[in-house]
């Protein structure tokens, strides 16, 4: 280190400003370069393994590695993930229509139409045979995007998300450098990070994977979807959750700004499906004891048809918690949805059967 030196700050201000500009440029260049780093998209979906959104891995495998056709896809949040059993729907549809109809429930916990758009795009790109996409509905749509959007969406989609009145935009974009560097390294050294580049069918849960059954969660707790809880226990939860809801704030003509993500991505899904000749519908599964009107019902009716299962709201035996069905509710909801769809198919209002089966 030697003797004490005088501070060496003899730069001219112009040189200092130039160096500061160089610093900012170098930092931004690093950020931009990170966005261009390549990676394996299968590894991208594996980032959610071990989280409550671990089903994302199965969704990717179902779409990319399983050639079993998909006629009807359900894309939604936890209510449809837990409340609609694809295998049960398949059985009811087969019984009512006399043909095998392949149903895939691609729902993931938490609301967020931006993620539904990503999954829909993935679905149509990998299974162009899909005829019907059912999206989930809640009483009030989410004002923010899905927390997993930044993890699963393509870089361009994150950057091109609506900027105006989008509280998630900034946090999603600034997450990208880390995501891209991390995925690049994991793709280069999968063994070190414990991820798979190659599909292992022995680990795959199959096309008949049922998202509605009781199971052990990623953090080791038993998720019970079989028990029937008392009305009081469920009702107490319901009132608390309902009280937490933020009511609709803006008049109808400004709703595009209040629910900017929900509306823009719903329109994008409907437009994408429309271009491919795919029908779009919406399923509402209720919370216990409350029949709240679905906000902006007319908007959804404009983009597709709406199925409202509010009839199941009053029977506590349907619920494992305030917003999610147990096996009784799931069975009822799955049968009800399948019966409605079969009736619409028979009436010629929908066409989701494979071509040769009609």
């Amino acid at each position: 280190m030697g003797a004490v030196r005088q501070p060496d700050e003899t730069l001219m201000p112009a040189t200092g400003r130039g160096l500061l500009a160089l610093f900012v440029a170098a930092f931004l260049l690093c950020c931009a370069a990170s966005l261009l780093l390549p990676h394996d998209r299968y590894i991208r979906y594996q980032q959610l393994a071990g989280t409550p959104l671990a089903s994302a891995v199965w969704i990717y495998e179902r779409l990319h590695f399983d050639p079993t056709p998909i006629d009807i896809a359900i894309v939604g949040a936890s209510r449809t993930e837990i409340g609609i059993s694809a295998p049960q729907m398949e059985r009811v549809l087969a019984a009512k229509l006399g043909r095998t109809v392949h149903v895939a429930n691609l729902s993931l916990p938490k609301d967020g139409r931006d993620l539904h758009y990503e999954l829909t795009r993935e679905l149509i790109a990998t299974h162009p045979e899909v005829k019907l996409i059912l999206l989930s509905l809640t009483e009030h749509s989410a004002r923010t995007g899905h927390s997993a959007f930044r993890s699963l969406a393509d870089t361009g989609d994150v950057l091109r998300a609506p900027l105006l009145v989008n509280p998630s935009y900034f946090s999603n974009v600034v997450f990208l450098p880390y995501r891209q560097v991390s995925l690049f390294l994991q793709t280069a050294l999968p063994g070190v990070f414990g991820v798979r580049e190659v599909f292992d069918h022995t680990l795959y849960e199959g096309a008949d994977h049922d998202t509605t059954t009781s199971h052990w969660s990623a953090n080791g707790t038993w998720i019970d979807r079989d028990s029937v809880r008392s009305p009081a226990a469920i009702a107490s939860q319901t009132s608390g959750k309902v009280a937490e809801r933020t009511p609709v704030l803006l008049p109808a003509r400004l709703r595009d700004y209040e629910y900017v993500l929900e509306r823009s991505y719903t329109r994008k899904i409907a437009a994408l499906a429309g271009r491919k000749g795919i029908s779009v519908g919406f399923i509402y599964l209720p919370i216990y004891g409350h029949r709240f009107p679905i906000t902006d019902l007319d908007f959804y009716r404009n983009e597709g048809f709406v199925m409202n299962a509010a009839i199941l709201a009053d029977d506590h035996r349907n619920f494992s918690d305030y917003a999610h069905f147990n096996q009784i509710g799931t069975t009822r909801a799955s049968r009800w949805v399948a019966a409605r769809l079969a009736a619409m198919e028979k009436a010629g209002e929908l066409h989701f059967l494979p071509e040769k089966a009609r």
Partner: protein, 511 residues
């Protein structure tokens, strides 16, 4: 806060552009702008306590005026000082210790009292101690307080408000009053580099070693006894975590202040390389140690030394009265300052005991040291370093553990007395954990610290004094040129990217 994208990419750039573009050159607006910025910064972190912060500033300012008036009239400053410190300690006690005291009384006497839930205002321990120090120094006549704006600027300076460094009035206020003497771009570049090093320490090193410590301490807290090796690894990992976390935070505070043209005092100077525990505490959380030295140790030790001299209790008695008692009290206060819990008391007691033993050893070997000719054998310094580090690591277990029971289970396991029933699931196994620790401690022992890297640009106050202390084996000095500036940008990017993986809160935000 500092380790958030909102701060780094929005708050800080906008604040710097406004400050250097509009306010830095205007004497009338410079301090009000920084005060307003600080209130906004504090409100973003926890707006419900903005009123409390301002109340604390107003009351302390009122007391300071009273003290100044007493001094001008040559009257005793005892009462305003007692009232001012009493107010500060009451606030601190209520928010930090009241719930714990009620809980303790409830457990002891079975009162069945409803336990109050009291949120801890951000930075209360820091801005309270800073203001107490100010009142005492003002009463001692170390400086004259000029204006309310100076005082508000002294407390409400956002880079160091939440977790230090704890500054003195005469260190900060003259700098706030004057236009920054250096070119803004130079200050910003130097500050950004110091900030980048701090962010790297936090997001890359501290958050990584945290993954080694947490599973073991959590297992012990859950009632199981981890294995001996796991406990030692966790203890060393947590020591590294708290060092890189808090010194990283301090770097970020010092760097942020520098971007606004202000040089703050040093808070860490490679303490884990120290060869004695006394030296370690001179270099660990320096501004808190300095505070305890000035406002606890010295006020106690002077009258106790006089008492010892008057009553001639012998060498041991004099040592006990003039050093052991004040240092034990100081260290217990430092321990308890971190939180209300017996674990923090134990931490303080252990540190106090270490220092007493250290000082006794020094006194006992003073003559031998003076009589020695030539250099010490090569093994002595590493041996002292290792002994100091191990002693500190053992005490840090008490600092991290949530209860004395957990401390007991950890210590039991560390001496090989545990069952080792808890499984520690480190991603890379024990070999991976040891490899990470080896790299981290190699950085501690070999690499230059932040201020040594930035040595050419007066990184901290009194740097001329500090730069001679324990220089690193590897010397690297940053320069204001294109190559080093690009390196700084890369470092900031690395810290920023890793920060976005989900950084933990700064440990000292809990205090």
């Amino acid at each position: 806060m500092f380790n958030s994208a909102t701060f780094l990419l929005l708050f800080l750039p906008v604040a710097l552009v406004l400050y250097h573009g509009l306010f830095a050159g205007r004497d009338r607006w410079r301090q009000p702008f920084l005060i307003g910025l600080t209130i906004l910064f504090y409100a973003i972190g926890g707006k419900i306590f903005v009123g409390l912060l301002l109340l604390s500033v107003v009351v302390n300012y009122g007391v300071a005026r009273w003290i100044s008036a007493c001094r001008h009239m040559a009257r005793s400053t005892r009462w305003p000082l007692v009232l001012g410190i009493g107010f500060d300690l009451t606030l601190l006690f209520y928010f930090k210790y009241f719930a714990a005291v009620i809980g303790g009384a409830d457990a002891l006497f079975g009162l069945n009292a409803a336990l109050p839930k009291i949120a801890l205002p951000l930075g209360i321990s820091f801005f309270t101690f800073q203001q107490i120090g100010f009142l005492v120094d003002l009463a001692r006549g170390r400086f004259e307080m000029k204006s309310a704006l100076d005082y508000a600027g002294f407390v409400l300076f956002f880079p160091q408000l939440l977790a230090g460094p704890i500054v003195r009035y005469e260190e900060l206020v003259p700098q706030l009053r004057a236009r920054p003497p250096r070119a803004a771009s130079n200050d910003i570049l130097v500050g950004l580099t110091i900030f980048a090093i701090g962010l790297f320490k936090k997001a890359v090193i501290a958050d990584t070693v945290a993954t080694l410590a947490s599973p073991v301490f959590d297992a012990a807290a859950a009632g199981t006894v981890p294995g001996t090796a796991a406990c030692w690894i966790a203890a060393f990992a947590y020591t590294a975590q708290i060092y890189f976390d808090f010194s990283g935070y301090s770097d970020m505070a010092i760097g942020t202040a520098r971007m606004f043209g202000i040089v703050l005092p040093l808070n860490f100077h490679s303490p884990l390389r120290a060869t004695s525990i006394i030296e370690l505490w001179r270099r660990w959380h320096i501004t808190l140690s300095r505070w305890a030295q000035s406002y606890i140790f010295q006020p106690l030790t002077i009258p106790l030394a006089r008492f010892a001299a008057d009553h001639a209790p012998g060498n041991r008695g004099t040592f006990l009265l003039s050093f052991a008692v004040p240092i034990m009290l100081s260290m217990v206060v430092i321990g308890v300052w971190h939180g209300a819990g017996w674990t923090f008391v134990l931490f303080g007691v252990l540190q106090g005991l270490y220092m007493v033993v250290n000082e006794a050893w020094r006194m006992a070997h003073r003559k031998a040291r003076k009589a020695r000719k030539g250099h010490l054998p090569a093994y002595v310094e590493p041996m002292y370093q290792a002994l100091t580090l191990i002693a500190f690591v053992i005490a840090v277990v008490a600092f991290r553990a949530p209860s004395l029971g957990t401390v007991g289970r950890m210590y039991l396991a560390m001496i090989g007395g545990g069952t080792g029933s808890a499984v520690t699931a480190w991603p890379g196994g024990i070999a991976g954990a040891l490899a990470i620790l080896a790299v981290v401690y190699a950085v501690v022992y070999l690499a230059p610290n932040t201020q040594a890297i930035m040595a050419r640009y007066e990184p901290v106050l009194d740097w001329a004094k500090w730069r001679k202390v324990d220089p690193a084996r590897l010397a690297v000095e940053w320069r204001l040129n294109a190559g080093w500036v690009v390196a700084s940008a890369l470092l900031l990017f690395a810290g920023f990217a890793l920060m976005m993986r989900g950084t933990t809160n700064f440990i000292y935000f809990n205090f």
